[in-house]
């Protein structure tokens, strides 16, 4: 904790030092103090926008995780389905979400829907991919036993493969939680007037760089807290499996 504080103070001092020495105008690089001021003056507006973004992130994360996990289980059941879907999934990740966001806005309007859709697109892949890896790694000894014991494929999935893959799912979820806010913000950049992304674009257009930095700071803190909460929730859920 003390090293983190020391690091923050050092960065702030360097930041302020650069401004003093180079004489940077505030619209290019605002000072830490002016960012703090912008944060305080616009606290109501920033909080409102952060609330929208957080709602999009949470909804997108839940939907995207559910979709990714369900897809992984379906693919875990069928090698044929995996053979068909895996290239499609990989292909879907080659299209930058930046390019998809305007199209999604065109289709889904300027409300929350396109932002959630972009978040889902970002979240489902790491979750699906990590979980699918886990489902393929059930210890062979346990699978042999299950087969000799006369277990059906469904029960093997439910009682052996899914529980054995939960640590992998947890890794996917923790990763997805860090990326989820990026999806929401990309959606907000493209269209609509709500959310931290929209606030940033708006402030940037009016050269209010201090407000852009303030919004960015809030977004970072929000992402760290969200990812931490997901990690804690995941750890608590899985603890009973002792894995």
């Amino acid at each position: 904790m003390r090293t983190v504080l020391a690091l923050i103070v050092t960065v702030l001092a360097l930041w302020q030092g650069v401004i003093w020495l180079a004489g940077m105008p505030p619209f290019l690089l605002p000072s830490p103090i002016s960012v703090a001021e912008a944060l305080w003056i616009n606290r109501a507006e920033i909080t409102r926008h952060a609330g929208y973004t957080l709602a999009e992130v949470a909804l997108g994360f839940v939907l995207g995780s559910a979709l990714g996990a369900a897809l992984a289980v379906a693919m875990g059941f069928s090698a044929k389905l995996t053979a068909v879907l895996r290239p499609i999934l990989t292909f879907s990740q080659t299209i930058p979400v930046f390019a998809l966001a305007p199209i999604l806005t065109l289709w889904l309007g300027f409300g929350m829907a396109p932002k959630i859709a972009v978040t889902v697109l970002i979240v489902f892949f790491p979750v699906c991919s990590a979980f699918l890896d886990g489902l393929a790694r059930t210890p062979q000894a346990a699978l042999d036993l299950a087969q000799v014991m006369g277990a059906s494929r469904g029960r093997i999935m439910r009682h052996l493969r899914i529980p054995a893959a939960l640590p992998y799912l947890a890794t996917g979820l923790r990763l997805a939680a860090v990326y989820a806010p990026i999806g929401a913000v990309i959606g907000e950049w493209v269209g609509g007037a709500r959310g931290l992304g929209a606030l940033m674009i708006h402030a940037n257009g009016r050269m209010k760089t201090d407000l852009v930095f303030a919004a960015l700071l809030v977004l970072s803190v929000m992402t760290v807290v969200f990812a931490r909460l997901v990690a804690i929730a995941v750890a608590r859920l899985w603890r009973r499996y002792a894995v």
Binding site: D144, L145, V148, I156, A242
Partner: protein, 234 residues
């Protein structure tokens, strides 16, 4: 079919023959030990009887007329289930309600009564194989397939597990796959040696005591062990 299981044929891995044509008939009672060096295809024969994937191409006939239970070198315990949960795994995997009283009796029989709610990670290697034995007994199958179940244990624990298994599996047909001549000499009612040139039936001079393993230090057991070792080296 009077035999408990028949394996007749040959197996290849790629283009290489894994073993010469074999013809193994398991009787309906007692312990048959399939003894041989590693990599000669002992486990392949056992897995054929169990109906499991072998990784080899088999040409021939495999028949079994009774349900089997399996116990292998890797006890295959489920890390998130306690001892009781692992013992009753089969019932859960078949969608049946496990009988807790029977599980308790069997856990007691293998000497783990005070550890019924421990997780496998808190057990020693020998204790884990005891859980696997209780799980095998819980399955209550007439034909039991043992795939080198004791080979990862230390000598003393191995001898204790041999005694316990001979006692608790009494009355069932057992196929024990092992690379240890001492183990075959203690447990086999019938010993079959598997080498690259095929199966050799080995004569077993002394009868095994009822529901027990032969003493590990009896001269005739040590003599049989030496005889089997010579057979494996030949």
């Amino acid at each position: 079919m009077s035999a408990a299981a028949i394996v007749r044929g040959r197996a290849w891995v790629g283009d290489t023959a894994l073993f010469a044509p074999v013809d193994l008939e398991l009787g309906t009672t007692g312990w048959t030990c399939l003894l041989g060096p590693s990599g000669v295809g002992k486990s392949t024969i056992l897995r054929l009887i169990a109906g499991l994937e072998t990784g080899a191409r088999f040409e021939g006939r495999v028949e079994t007329n009774r349900p089997v239970a399996l116990m292998a070198q890797d006890p295959g315990l489920i890390g998130w289930l306690d001892v009781t949960g692992n013992v009753t795994l089969g019932a859960r995997l078949r969608g049946e309600n496990p009988d807790p009283a029977r599980a308790e009796t069997l856990i007691k029989a293998v000497g783990l009564a005070d550890r019924a709610h421990h997780l496998p990670s808190n057990l020693s290697g020998g204790q884990r194989q005891r859980v696997a034995l209780a799980r095998t007994l819980f399955e209550d199958r007439p034909l039991v397939l043992l795939d080198e179940p004791f080979s990862a244990l230390d000598a003393r624990t191995r001898a204790q597990m041999q005694d316990l298994s001979a006692h608790l599996l009494d009355g069932r047909t057992v196929l024990l796959v092992t690379h240890d001549p001492a183990e075959a000499a203690r447990l086999g009612d019938r010993i079959v040696l598997l080498r690259e040139d095929g199966l050799t039936e080995w004569s077993v001079p002394t009868r095994r005591p009822d529901a027990a393993a032969r003493p590990y230090d009896a001269p005739e057991v040590l003599a049989l062990q030496a005889d089997l070792m010579r057979g494996m080296m030949a």
